[in-house]
C-alpha cells in the first residue's frame, strides 16, 4: 500500500522550483503528445514558447502578450488573496462579464456625448459590477453558510445569460441591422480603451494589472489586512482569537476579487473586444485560476505566470498557423500545466511511503 505522509517542513526552494518543473514537464509531455500525433515535437514546442517572443513576427506578438496577460494578471491578483485566506472564488468569469456589462452600460448611456468623465466612470461601474456579483456568494455564505465555490461558479452561467440578453436586447446596436451586439466602443473615443503608446499593446488594463500587482503585494506583505488573510488561511482558529471576523474576510476577499475581475472585463470590452456580445466571456476568469496557482498566489509569481499563460495562447495560435496543430492543443497544454503543478505541489508537501500491512 502506498500512503501520503505530510512533510514536517516544506522546502522554500521547492516552492519556487515546482512551477518551473511543472512548465518543463508540460513541455516534455506536450512534446510527446505532438510526436504521437505525428508532428515534430521540437518545432512545435519552439513555435509555442519561442517564436512569439523572438520569432519572425515577434514585433507584433510581443505586445499581444501584454494584451492577453493583463486581464489574467488583474483577475488572478484578486483571486490569490481569497485563495490565501481559504476563500474560493471560482466565478471570476461571471464577475468579469458583469463588470464588462456595467462599464459598457455607462458608455452606451452616455453615447454620443464626449467627455473626460466617461472613461473613469466606466472603470468605476465595471469594478462596482464585478464587486456586486462577487458579493452575492459572499452574502449567501455569511448568512446561510452556502458554499461560495458552488454559488460563484453557478453565477458564471447566470452572467453568460445576462450577457446574451444584453447583446440581443437592451444593448443591441440600434444601427446594427438587427444583428446582436452593442455599439463598438473602439469607435467611440470617450469610451474607448486604446493602445496608449502605439505598437506596445499597453492599454489602461495593462496599467491596471501592473498597479494590481504592486497593490496586492503591499496588501499581503505590509498591511494588517494581509496578515489577517494569511493567518485565516493557515490557522482559522488562531485568526479568530486574533480578532479576525470570518464574515468580514469573506466579504472583503470576494468583493475585491470581484471588483478586479469586473475591471478586467471593462478594460477588455472598451479595448480589444470592443463590444458587448453574447460571447464576451472568453474564459479569462477560469484561466486566471491556473495563473494564481502557477504564480504561487504571490503577486510577482502571478505576473510571470500570467505572461506564461499568455504565451501559450499566442504560441498555440502560431502553432496552428504554422504547423496545423489542432486548436485544442492550447487547452490541453494549459490543463497539463495545472495538473503537473498540483502533482509536484503534492510531493513538496507530502512524501510517499509504503505502508507496511501488519
Amino acid at each position: 500500500m502506498i500512503q501520503l505522509v505530510p512533510r514536517s517542513e516544506v522546502s522554500t526552494l521547492w516552492q519556487f522550483l515546482t512551477p518551473v518543473l511543472a512548465v518543463l514537464a508540460t513541455m516534455v509531455a506536450g512534446g510527446l503528445l505532438f510526436w504521437v500525433m505525428g508532428y515534430d515535437p521540437v518545432a512545435a514546442i519552439k513555435t509555442i514558447f519561442w517564436d512569439p517572443l523572438f520569432g519572425m513576427a515577434s514585433s507584433y506578438s510581443r505586445p499581444q502578450l501584454l494584451v492577453k496577460a493583463a486581464p489574467l494578471i488583474l483577475i488572478a491578483s484578486g483571486l490569490a488573496i481569497g485563495f490565501r485566506a481559504g476563500i474560493w472564488n471560482i466565478g471570476a468569469e461571471g464577475q468579469y462579464i458583469i463588470g464588462a456589462i456595467c462599464g459598457a452600460a455607462v458608455a452606451l448611456a452616455a453615447y454620443p456625448s464626449e467627455g473626460m468623465w466617461i472613461f473613469p466612470a466606466m472603470v468605476v461601474a465595471g469594478a462596482a459590477g464585478g464587486w456586486a456579483w462577487g458579493m452575492i456568494p459572499a452574502t449567501l455564505r455569511n448568512w446561510f453558510g452556502a458554499s461560495e465555490i458552488l454559488v460563484s461558479l453557478m453565477l458564471v452561467y447566470v452572467a453568460q445569460r445576462v450577457a446574451a440578453w444584453m447583446a440581443f436586447g437592451p444593448m443591441k446596436n440600434p444601427e446594427g441591422f438587427g444583428f446582436p451586439g452593442s455599439r463598438n466602443l473602439q469607435q467611440y473615443p470617450s469610451a474607448s480603451n486604446p493602445e496608449l503608446i502605439a505598437g506596445t499593446g499597453t492599454h489602461w488594463g495593462v496599467v491596471a494589472a501592473a498597479v494590481a500587482v504592486l497593490a496586492t503585494w503591499f496588501l499581503m506583505s505590509r498591511h494588517i489586512r494581509g496578515f489577517h488573510i494569511r493567518t485565516a488561511g493557515l490557522a482559522p482558529r488562531a485568526a479568530r482569537f486574533a480578532g479576525v471576523k470570518p464574515e468580514t474576510l469573506v466579504a472583503f476577499c470576494l468583493g475585491l476579487s470581484g471588483a478586479l475581475a469586473g475591471m478586467a472585463g471593462l478594460f477588455e470590452v472598451a479595448g480589444p473586444a470592443g463590444q458587448i456580445t453574447d460571447k464576451i466571456g472568453v474564459g479569462y476568469g477560469f484561466t486566471a485560476i491556473i495563473v494564481a496557482f502557477l504564480g504561487r498566489l504571490h503577486p510577482v509569481g502571478i505576473l510571470l505566470a500570467g505572461l506564461l499563460l499568455a504565451l501559450t495562447y499566442i504560441g498555440g495560435e502560431l502553432a496552428q498557423l504554422m504547423l496545423n496543430l489542432p486548436a485544442a492543443t492550447v487547452q490541453v497544454f494549459q490543463g497539463m500545466m495545472l495538473f503537473f503543478l498540483l502533482g509536484f505541489d503534492l510531493l513538496t508537501r507530502f512524501k510517499i511511503q509504503r505502508r507496511v500491512v501488519a
Binding site: G55, A57, Q64, Q186, E268, Q320
Partner: protein
C-alpha cells in the same frame, strides 16, 4: 530564423521583386481561413473547410491554404487575423458573423490583403462579404414538413434571433402552411450554433408539445437523434447528416461554399477581384438540397423538387405577397417580392406564427 538567413532571404526577396513578372507565377497565393468552431463540428465550420479543400483541389500548387480553428469572436479574432496577414496570406476568409469588426480593423492595417467575411454587412475596398440564401432551402424543407406532419405541429430550433434565422423560420412556415393550412409552428431558441446538449433539450421540448417534424438552424445531429427516439422526422443542417437517413433525416439543407471560394480565388489569381456583397442561393449551387429519402411519399418529393427548380431558375421568390406580419400589419402586396434590404434586417414573424421573437 537566424539574423543572417533573414538578411539573405531579404536580399533574395528584393531580387525576386526586381524580376517580378518572370517569377510571379511561381509564388503560390497564400490563403488563410479563420473558423469559429472546430473543423470536426460536422456542420458550419466543416462545410467551410470543405470549401478550403476544394480550393486546394482546384488550384493545386498555385495556392497554399492554412486555417486557424475555434477562434473566439472578439479580441482573439483580431489577433488571429493579424497573424494570418503577417504570415503572408493575401486572401483571408473569416467565416463567422462575429468576426466582422475584427476583420474591418485588420483590413484597415493591411490594405494589400483581401478579406472575405461571411454573413456580415460591413465592407471596404479590401473587404467583401458573402452569404447564402438559406431561406430558399427552408422553403423546400417547409413544403415537405407541411405535407409530412400528422399532428399539424412543426417545430423549429433556432440558434439566435438574428435576421438570417428569422428568414428561415418564416420561409419554412409560409411554405408549410401553403400546402397545409392547419399547420402550426413552435419555435425554441438554443442560443448556440453548436451545442448538442442544448439542441437535444430543445428537440425534447418540441416533441413534448406534440411536434412531429423538427427543423433546425443549429449544427449538431442531436435533434435528429431525439426525433428518431420519438418517431418524428427532421432535416440535416449545414451538412448532409446522411448517417440519419432515410429517417429521421428525410432531406437536408447543405451549405456548399466551394463554388464561391473557387470563383473568388480565381479572381485574385487573375487580378479581377473586387469588393462586393454576394448573396447566392440554390440557383448558384451554394445552397444544396440533400437527397429526399423514400420516407417521403413520391408526390411530396416531386412537389418539393418542383419548388426547388422554380426557386433555382428565379421564377419564384420564397417571400412573395400577399404576406402580412405577425402583428397583422401588411408587408407584401399581392405578387410583390421582398427586397434584399428587407430580408437582411428581418426582425418579425409572418402572420400565423404566434410566438414572439425574443428581444
Amino acid at each position: 530564423m537566424k539574423r543572417r538567413t533573414l538578411l539573405a532571404s531579404a536580399a533574395a526577396a528584393s531580387i525576386l521583386t526586381l524580376a517580378a513578372p518572370a517569377f510571379a507565377q511561381d509564388e503560390p497565393l497564400k490563403i488563410g481561413f479563420i473558423y469559429v468552431g472546430p473543423v470536426g463540428d460536422g456542420g458550419w465550420t466543416y462545410q467551410h473547410d470543405l470549401g478550403r479543400q476544394a480550393i486546394e483541389a482546384e488550384f493545386g500548387d498555385r495556392v497554399e491554404t492554412t486555417f486557424i480553428e475555434s477562434v473566439p469572436e472578439g479580441a482573439d479574432a483580431e489577433r488571429a487575423l493579424t497573424q494570418l496577414a503577417l504570415a503572408g496570406n493575401k486572401l483571408i476568409f473569416a467565416t463567422s458573423f462575429g468576426f466582422m469588426d475584427p476583420v474591418m480593423n485588420v483590413a484597415a492595417k493591411f490594405p494589400d490583403v483581401k478579406f472575405e467575411h461571411a454573413t456580415g454587412y460591413k465592407r471596404a475596398d479590401n473587404v467583401a462579404t458573402y452569404d447564402a440564401r438559406f431561406y430558399e432551402g427552408r422553403a423546400v424543407m417547409g413544403t415537405i414538413a407541411g405535407r409530412m406532419t400528422e399532428s399539424n405541429k412543426i417545430g423549429y430550433i433556432g440558434s439566435f434571433p438574428i435576421p438570417e434565422v428569422i428568414q428561415g423560420i418564416n420561409s419554412s412556415f409560409i411554405h408549410a402552411r401553403k400546402v397545409n393550412p392547419e399547420v402550426e409552428m413552435k419555435v425554441v431558441w438554443a442560443y448556440s450554433w453548436f451545442d448538442p446538449a442544448k439542441e437535444a433539450d430543445a428537440a425534447a421540448a418540441l416533441l413534448a408539445e406534440g411536434v412531429d417534424v423538427i427543423l433546425q438552424h443549429t449544427d449538431s445531429t442531436a435533434p435528429l437523434a431525439k426525433a428518431q427516439e420519438a418517431g418524428a422526422i427532421g432535416f440535416g443542417q449545414a451538412s448532409d447528416m446522411a448517417a440519419f437517413a432515410p429517417s429521421p433525416r428525410v432531406s437536408s439543407i447543405i451549405d456548399d461554399w466551394s463554388p464561391y471560394y473557387i470563383k473568388r480565388v480565381g479572381e485574385v489569381l487573375d487580378g479581377t477581384w473586387q469588393s462586393n456583397a454576394t448573396w447566392a442561393g440554390i440557383g448558384d449551387g451554394e445552397v444544396v438540397i440533400g437527397e429526399i429519402t423514400d420516407a417521403v411519399p413520391a408526390e411530396v418529393k416531386e412537389e418539393a423538387l418542383a419548388l426547388k427548380e422554380q426557386i433555382a431558375s428565379g421564377e419564384y421568390h420564397p417571400f412573395t405577397g400577399p404576406l402580412n406580419k405577425a402583428d397583422g400589419s401588411a408587408w407584401l402586396a399581392e405578387g410583390e417580392t421582398a427586397s434584399d434590404e428587407d430580408l437582411s434586417s428581418m426582425n418579425f414573424y409572418v402572420e400565423g406564427i404566434t410566438a414572439a421573437i425574443p428581444q
